[in-house]
């Protein structure tokens, strides 16, 4: 019940090299304060482990307690259509306490994305299928809250501090060089 059921594929948002010995998959929610706190930790880990770490982000919005989480996730997917996923991802986490519609549109504007198209996408739910697919894949992998991390397909049951995640990554034992 603790393994990643949906393998990392080209449908995923991936940072880092496919040759990295360690892959860390996060199931997250842009409006979840814990995910917001984990965001800079993930950045620091990417810096620390460099090409030894591949990072994948998947959506797990708890939409009933986080009213803006779904639209935020759909907006990130919209940005992905224009190869701007990670820029949008950062903007969303850095502004997670004000993810109103008007913020989503101004974020899209900042990234030079077509606002009218975003409007259409949010209305039609064009990108909602990807968000829901991420969510259900997470449920089937035993994700029970956010953030949930999988390190090389196994659920990380510890906390999301830099120390705990580093240790879990290092315990994979195939890290070639520690900066």
């Amino acid at each position: 019940m603790n393994g990643l059921r949906v393998p990392v594929s080209s449908n995923d948002h991936i940072l880092g090299s496919d040759d990295a010995p360690v892959t860390m998959v996060e199931y997250g929610d842009y409006e979840c304060p814990h995910c917001g706190a984990a965001h800079p930790v993930v950045k620091a880990l990417m810096e620390r482990f460099n090409e030894d770490l591949r990072y994948v982000y998947r959506h797990f919005p708890l939409t009933q307690i986080h009213p803006h989480a779904e639209a935020a996730a759909e907006t990130a997917e919209f940005a992905a259509l224009y190869q701007r996923f990670w820029q949008m991802h950062d903007l969303l986490f850095e502004n997670q306490d004000r993810l109103s519609m008007s913020f989503l549109f101004s974020a899209a504007e900042t990234l030079d994305l077509p606002i009218r198209r975003l409007q259409e996408v949010l209305r039609s739910g064009e990108t909602s299928r990807k968000v829901r697919a991420d969510f259900m894949g997470g449920v089937r992998s035993g994700v029970n809250g956010t953030p949930t991390f999988f390190i090389n397909n196994r659920r990380h049951n510890g906390g999301y501090s830099f120390g705990e995640l580093s240790e879990a990554i290092e315990s994979q034992g195939r890290i070639s060089r520690a900066a």
């Binding site: 929610d29 449920v139 089937r140 994700v143 029970n144 956010t146």
Partner: protein, 168 residues
């Protein structure tokens, strides 16, 4: 105390579901029923089990299943909790006599005076098809429930051994 296992008839009950309404197990039967006993309302929000089931609700409904949460919290407490977290399924109050229903399901922690974190998937005739008791601090997620519902609706007359195996 071990939770009731697969193959056992689910004890019927009538509990408060709102401050002025009751709900019985037999009213829910005729379709698969998921009972989720849990320790308390108002546990930390993001990792909350009921918030997760709220999100997975459309999947449970795809199997034609009903889900109900059960804790020893009073009906007014549930009402506030439901409103605050926009919960779209019933939360039952095992409040008076306290924990009576949980005890009959083997899902009561007498020392703390709260329900276990125990899950039951009951078939449409009222027989427990699958049960699971999670460590109290661990949100068991929804995967076990979905697997049990798949089994139940995929092969309604699936053999007993498989049912028992899935309960272990």
């Amino acid at each position: 105390m071990a939770v009731l296992s697969a193959g056992t008839p689910a004890p019927d009950f009538t509990l408060r579901v709102t401050p002025d309404q009751d709900l019985s197990l037999k009213e829910l039967l005729g379709r698969p029923v998921v009972l989720a006993f849990y320790p308390a309302d108002w546990s930390p929000v993001c990792g909350d089990q009921m918030a997760l089931y709220n999100e997975v609700l459309p999947e449970f409904q795809r199997f034609g299943a009903e889900i109900a949460g059960i804790s020893v919290d009073g009906a007014w407490c549930h009402a506030a909790y439901v409103k605050h977290n926009h919960i779209h399924f019933p939360l039952l109050s095992d409040f008076e006599p306290k924990g009576e229903v949980a005890k009959r399901y083997g899902a009561y922690r007498a020392k703390e005076g709260v329900c276990e974190r125990a899950l039951f998937v009951i078939n449409e005739e009222g027989i427990i098809h699958w049960s699971y008791c999670s460590p109290i601090a661990v949100n068991p997620g929804a995967e076990g429930i979905l697997e049990a519902l798949e089994e139940l609706t995929g092969s309604k007359k699936g053999n007993q051994n498989e049912r028992l195996k899935s309960a272990s």
